[in-house]
């Protein structure tokens, strides 16, 4: 035992020592500052695709250049006899177009012998044995004469000279393709360079001994108020969007917008809302009300994990649909199999003489969240590096015992339970009446509070479709109930097919049918890798004693129902000659895509026209 403690301690010590090695706290702080500032300045930049410059490149420099201080300080170490001894260094990465407006500063630590320093930009491959600005695709502002060099050996009078102690900034505006320099926080007007190459790198050049400059790529606050400058352009672009001329077509626009809203509501089956909206705007809804309600009901079934019923309903209401779309049918059946494992599909649920507990843990409920709660156990073991582990075991225990009650009470006190169950009964179809008595009887066997939970499960799963909003409430529930579930995990709950023998047999039989279907499809349409993978994954669930905590357990997550649900919905709509995607989502997707495309074609305004800015 002592030994154990010893080894644990020594391990911890090792870990501690390790972190000490990496951690120059000042450096870490600066690194953190840098990340925060870059994120704030260039929110549209995806650094995985286009990393931002963070230091000078030790590889992309002339030999007369020396780097120090995390590659931020540049000093000259050549002879400095004449211009042939000039030397430059580029930053590690070019300026991404998605910056919109990019800025960096250089402080002149020492002007050295003659102060022949140039600050600017250059493209990859430009000769480094030169000062920035002298060659093609190279631009620079020089300290000795204050001239601006635009890809030419002769400069143009531009600004004042600069020397030791001055802070020179370079701002690239990728929206209007201009550039200007700053001196000690003051803008020096636009540089006369007319056009800029894409993919320019921040560059500095030095030419005489003793010259030292420090770069600031965001490690420290800038002397010039670049955020203020950006705010002007953000406002400009936003007002450009807001004032986009629509001229005579004002009426058309209104109709388009109304149609967008209406079609979105209809698509997702928000029948009552859609009707009210149509009445208020005096517009027509293309699809008839029963059709919307039918779709709504089918969606609810899928989201509740009752895929078998959903398939039946679809076949009954839209005969021929699934027959013509074997892929979709196969996907649905696969899902049905997963739901059987889960114990949610009605084909297995009808077998289970369900205990309150099993019902409580009813995995079909979207309340049940992704795996977070379940992996808790692992965290205890591995967790030395995880911040959660610091709480140790005891607090978690406390949570458990506490949450047992909160889980119940939160469900019973949830205001959404009653209206949503009304909602459910509103959809008066044969299918639901079939299942309704069943769940009602099983509910009667349980305590009152459990019944509320059942209702709650339904409500969330049923009323809310696969939108983001749902995810929101969902997480909320998760926090309240996660631990509750993990407690029950260890007990009787979450058994294969709800722990019922007959149900398990049915599942296995269903699995065989599914296999047969797959083979049939294969014969008919040729091999389909996606199907194979889907089937494999589904069957793999059976290989684990606890499918919920296995590598393919993800499939059991109720979230996974959303994709198939919307695929089914789209297929139904298509079969009715209606758009399979709501135009609103289409427009949103297109806008997002456009903005991303703008970054790729180097149109800088994309950074200030982000779709997120307009979604509230």
């Amino acid at each position: 035992m002592q030994c154990n403690i010893c080894s644990v301690l020594s391990k911890m010590a090792e870990l501690g020592a390790g972190s000490l090695l990496t951690g120059d706290p000042a450096f870490n702080y600066q690194e953190h500052e840098l990340n925060e500032r870059l994120k704030r300045l260039y929110p549209a930049v995806n650094e995985e695709e286009t990393p931002l410059p963070r230091s000078w490149s030790p590889k992309d420099k002339y030999s007369y250049i020396g780097l120090s201080q995390n590659n931020l300080r540049v000093h000259y170490k050549g002879h400095g006899k004449n211009h042939k001894d000039a030397a430059s260094v580029r930053a590690t990465h070019p300026i991404p177009a998605a910056c919109g407006i990019y800025y960096f500063e250089v402080k002149i630590v020492s002007k050295g012998r003659d102060g022949y320093m140039g600050i600017g930009l250059s493209a990859q491959g430009v000769n480094m044995n030169r000062l920035p600005g002298w060659d093609k695709h190279s631009y620079g502002y020089h300290g000795d004469d204050g001239h601006s060099f635009c890809s030419s050996g002769t400069g143009q009078p531009y600004g004042p000279t600069f020397t030791t102690g001055d802070v020179i900034g370079c701002c690239v505006n990728l929206i209007n393709n201009t550039c200007f320099y700053t001196k000690n926080g003051h803008t020096l007007s636009f540089c006369p360079c007319l056009s800029f190459q894409p993919n320019l790198y921040p560059t500095v050049g030095l030419q005489t001994p003793g010259e030292i400059v420090d770069a600031n790529f965001g490690q420290q606050p800038f002397v010039f108020d670049i955020e203020d400058y950006m705010s002007e352009w953000r406002a400009k672009i936003h007002s450009m969007i807001a004032r986009f001329p629509i001229g005579e077509r004002l009426g058309d626009w209104q109709a388009v917008l109304q149609n967008m809203v209406s079609s979105y509501l209809v698509h997702h089956g928000y029948c009552a809302t859609a009707m009210t909206f149509a009445r208020a705007t005096e517009t027509m809804i293309q699809e008839d009300q029963t059709s919307i309600k039918n779709r709504q009901r089918i969606q609810k079934l899928v989201l509740a994990g009752r895929v078998g019923e959903a398939i039946d309903a679809t076949q009954q209401l839209y005969p021929g649909l699934l027959e013509h779309d074997p892929n979709l049918l196969f996907m649905l059946k696969c899902r049905q199999f997963v739901e059987m494992v889960n114990g949610t599909d009605s084909e297995v649920r009808c077998f289970s003489a369900r205990s309150p507990k099993s019902q409580d843990s009813y995995p079909g409920s979207p309340n049940l969240s992704p795996r977070h709660g379940a992996t808790n156990a692992h965290l205890h073991n591995t967790g030395a590096d995880s911040p959660t582990c610091s709480n140790g075991v005891t607090p978690t225990n406390k949570n458990k015992s506490h949450n047992k009650y909160t889980g119940v009470s939160s469900a019973s006190s949830s205001p959404s339970s009653s209206p949503s169950s009304v909602n459910y009964s509103e959809s008066n179809s044969t299918d639901s009446t079939k299942s309704q008595p069943h769940s009602a009887t099983s509910n009667q066997e349980t305590s009152d509070s459990e019944m509320e939970i059942e209702a709650e499960h339904y409500s969330n799963g049923v009323t809310e479709s696969s939108t983001r909003i749902m995810n929101g409430t969902y997480k909320h529930q998760e926090i309240l109930q996660a631990d509750d579930n993990s407690v029950d995990d260890s007990c009787s709950s979450r058994q294969l097919c709800g722990g019922n023998q007959a149900a398990t047999e049915r599942m296995i039989q269903f699995g065989r049918e599914l296999q047969a279907l797959s083979e049939q499809l294969c014969r008919q349409y040729g091999k389909n890798a996606t199907h194979k993978k889907m089937l494999q994954d589904a069957f793999s669930l059976l290989a684990y004693s606890d499918p919920w905590n296995c590598p393919v357990g993800q499939q059991l997550d109720p979230m996974q129902r959303e994709a198939i649900c919307s695929a089914l919905n789209s297929a139904i709509l298509e079969s009715q000659n209606l758009p399979k995607q709501p135009p609103l989502m289409l427009a949103l997707g297109q806008a997002t895509e456009c903005v991303q495309l703008m970054a790729k074609v180097r149109s800088g305004s994309c950074s200030f026209a982000r779709v997120d800015n307009f979604l509230h």
């Binding site: 600004g159 926080g185 003051h186 803008t187 020096l188 007007s189 108020d225 705010s231 002007e232 953000r234």
Partner: protein
């Protein structure tokens, strides 16, 4: 044509008839009918200037005011009356005049004492419209001393009262007295919280209030720096309002507030909020992207901000290429606008003068201290030509600004020698001096002083243009500034000038005027007059004509209560006299004067000692006739002892001078 006329005549008749009907209804015995009448009138006048004019002519205003003031009128009726009056005020300036003549202001101010908010707001809205008109005398706001405190108390009522009242204050605060009245009634404490009002209009009007309150007012400015708004310093609130994404009007007004606070000494010129925020903001206002009005205000404010501070001038001169940016101010109306768009041309024409004068002002301020900046300005495209043509423009504002600019540039020796001469700026300048208001004359004559400096190549042609008469007449002006400039220019002119010029000056000025200037109450005038005398008497003066009078004047000044500088200058004159052949006798025969020189040689001020010693040195100079006698006489009077003592002086110049004088005795 005739048909047209008839038609319009008929329409006119009809309008008058309906208008009369509206007025008649105001006299209906049934109050309910009166109310309906007023409401109908309200609907009839909206946006109809002719209808408004008709109603005023037909005497609706006194009746409306009567109904508004009558306590027996229902609150609804009184409110509607105020609304109609407000609508009438929205019309032409003539409407406003008529309303003011009917004593609408006291009536509405009286209405503010009512307790009903809707009525108060209607009164304030109308008052606002009346007061912001240029034809309303602002003094009317201050005649009743209870009005301002009452308005302050109404500020808390609603966003509307806040907007109207601050707008009234912002327009009616025109003099230091107005500032003091508003300040004393707690304007700052009452208005500061409105800077963070949720309403943009309120924020904006509150900001405007502060800009007019702080203008050239140290008391207000000093108070403002210590005000906190929601825990934040007022200067920081202003800085936030200057952010580039704020409306231009707000940025500009906030920059004005900070500028005025800075000029009043409440904020240092090297404070970051001035150097890094206000100055760049004002430079931005001068850019081509801004409206013409904004560019004018921006340039004028910037000129005012940096006038006294060379550092700010240097920063501004390199910010955003301001110097060349300003050159664009002279390109209105542009040739493009003339062809394409009449409206635009009209707009450009209206602002062209304002733009030019603002640019001249800003150039003047930029170049007032730094030689490099002056060079940069004169090298700007066509700059000197623009100034030259500006000097003869019809607009006084432009002429004044142009001459200010020229004056600022004339402080540069290099420019005087080059561009000033090349462009013959003296010609339009002389023309300007012939007939101009005093403020232009002051600047022009001051510029002329610089052009008459001896190294200026313009000096010759100016002399030949008969400037002496003009300058002499300036010395007789009531304005001390003009007298100084006149005599100063003469002084510069006389410096190392030909005897001919000197004689001309003396003749033109006349001894009488010379002596009048020597007793001028303004020290500057006295100093320059002495300077003139000194220059006139240099190079061996011939004192035969005015010797006696000059000696009298010198005695008078040396005996009077004058500053060291004045006395030094006088002793220098004496030294110059002592250098002339015949003039020496004037001193040597004047024992009283010799005693005075002796006194100043022993004075505690080195400058006076030096000047007096110089004088003696001239008297005893060996190579001249009669030097032996003079030496003897002065030795008898004990000057040698004094000189001997002075050879031990700690001041090297004085010591040197004394030794040289002693050598005259030894030789």
């Amino acid at each position: 044509y005739a048909y047209d006329f008839v038609l319009s005549f008929v329409t006119m008749q009809e309008v008058t008839a309906t208008s009369r009907h509206y007025v008649d209804r105001l006299f209906d015995p049934d109050p309910q009918n009166v109310l309906q009448g007023v409401i109908d009138m309200k609907n009839a006048v909206i946006g109809n200037n002719r209808q408004k004019a008709n109603l005023i002519v037909l005497g609706a205003v006194p009746r409306l005011l009567y109904l508004l003031q009558q306590s027996s009128s229902s609150l609804e009726l009184r409110t509607e009356c105020a609304v109609v009056l407000g609508s009438l005020a929205m019309g032409t300036e003539n409407n406003i005049k008529s309303l003011v003549d009917c004593h609408i202001i006291p009536a509405l101010l009286q209405g503010l004492l009512c307790s009903d908010l809707i009525f108060i707001e209607a009164c304030l809205r109308c008052l606002r419209t009346v007061f912001i008109s240029p034809v309303t005398p602002v003094q009317l706001l201050y005649t009743d001393p209870t009005v301002i405190p009452h308005l302050m108390s109404l500020l808390s009522l609603s966003q509307h009262t806040q907007e109207y009242i601050t707008q009234i204050f912002a327009h009616c605060c025109k003099t230091p007295e107005h500032q003091t009245v508003l300040f004393n009634h707690g304007a700052i404490q009452n208005i500061a919280p409105l800077l963070i009002s949720p309403s943009y209009k309120v924020r904006m009007q509150a900001l405007k209030c502060f800009s007019v309150l702080a203008y050239e007012n140290a008391q207000v400015s000093m108070t403002l720096v210590n005000v906190l708004v929601d825990g934040e310093q007022l200067s920081q609130v202003f800085v936030r309002m200057m952010q580039r994404d704020k409306p231009i009007e707000m940025q500009l007004t906030a920059a004005k507030c900070l500028t005025y606070m800075c000029r009043a000494g409440a904020i240092r010129t090297d404070d970051n909020c001035i150097v890094l925020k206000t100055l760049p903001c004002l430079v931005r206002m001068c850019s081509k992207e801004r409206l013409l009005e904004e560019r004018v205000e921006g340039a004028e404010t910037l000129a005012y901000l940096m006038e006294p501070d060379i550092e700010l001038q240097r920063i501004a001169s390199v910010t955003d290429h301001l110097v060349s940016m300003l050159a664009d101010y002279f390109k209105y109306p542009s040739s493009v606008s003339a062809i394409t768009d009449i409206k635009r041309l009209d707009h450009d024409l209206k602002h062209a003068h304002e733009l030019r004068q603002a640019a001249f002002k800003l150039y003047a301020s930029l170049g007032s201290n730094d030689e490099d900046i002056r060079k940069k300005i004169t090298e700007t495209e066509n700059m000197m030509d623009r100034i030259v043509s500006g000097l003869s423009e019809s607009s006084i504002k432009v002429r004044l600004a142009a001459v200010r600019c020229l004056h600022s540039l004339s402080r540069s020796v290099q420019q005087l020698r080059t561009s000033f001469h090349d462009h013959a700026v003296w010609k339009p300048l002389m023309k300007l001096l012939q007939n101009a208001p005093d403020e232009v004359l002051v600047m022009a004559s001051s510029t002329l002083c610089n052009l008459l400096l001896e190294f200026s190549p313009s000096k010759e042609p100016i002399l030949e243009s008969g400037v002496i008469e003009l300058l002499c007449s300036l010395t007789q002006s009531d304005s001390p500034a003009l007298r100084v400039n006149g005599i100063w220019a003469l002084m510069n002119m006389a410096f190392q000038a030909d005897q001919k010029v000197k004689v001309e000056i003396v003749q033109a000025l006349g001894t009488e005027q010379l002596f009048r200037l020597l007793s001028d109450p303004d020290t500057n005038v006295l100093m320059k007059t002495l300077g003139l005398l000194r220059n006139l008497l240099s190079t061996r003066p011939d004192m035969s004509s005015h010797g006696k009078q000059i000696m009298q004047a010198v005695t008078l000044i040396l005996e009077g209560e004058h500053s060291i500088e004045v006395k030094e200058q006088t002793l220098c004159i004496l030294a110059n006299i002592a250098d002339g052949n015949t003039a020496k006798e004037l001193i040597m025969t004047n024992d009283d004067m010799l005693q005075k020189i002796k006194y100043y040689m022993g004075h505690s001020n080195v400058k006076l000692q030096l000047a007096a010693t110089f004088c003696i040195s001239n008297l005893i100079w060996n190579e001249e006739d009669g030097s032996q006698e003079r030496q003897d006489k002065l030795r008898e009077m004990g000057f040698v002892d004094i000189l001997h003592k002075l050879t031990q002086a700690s001041d090297p110049n004085l010591c040197d001078r004394a030794k040289k004088a002693m050598q005259q005795y030894l030789a």
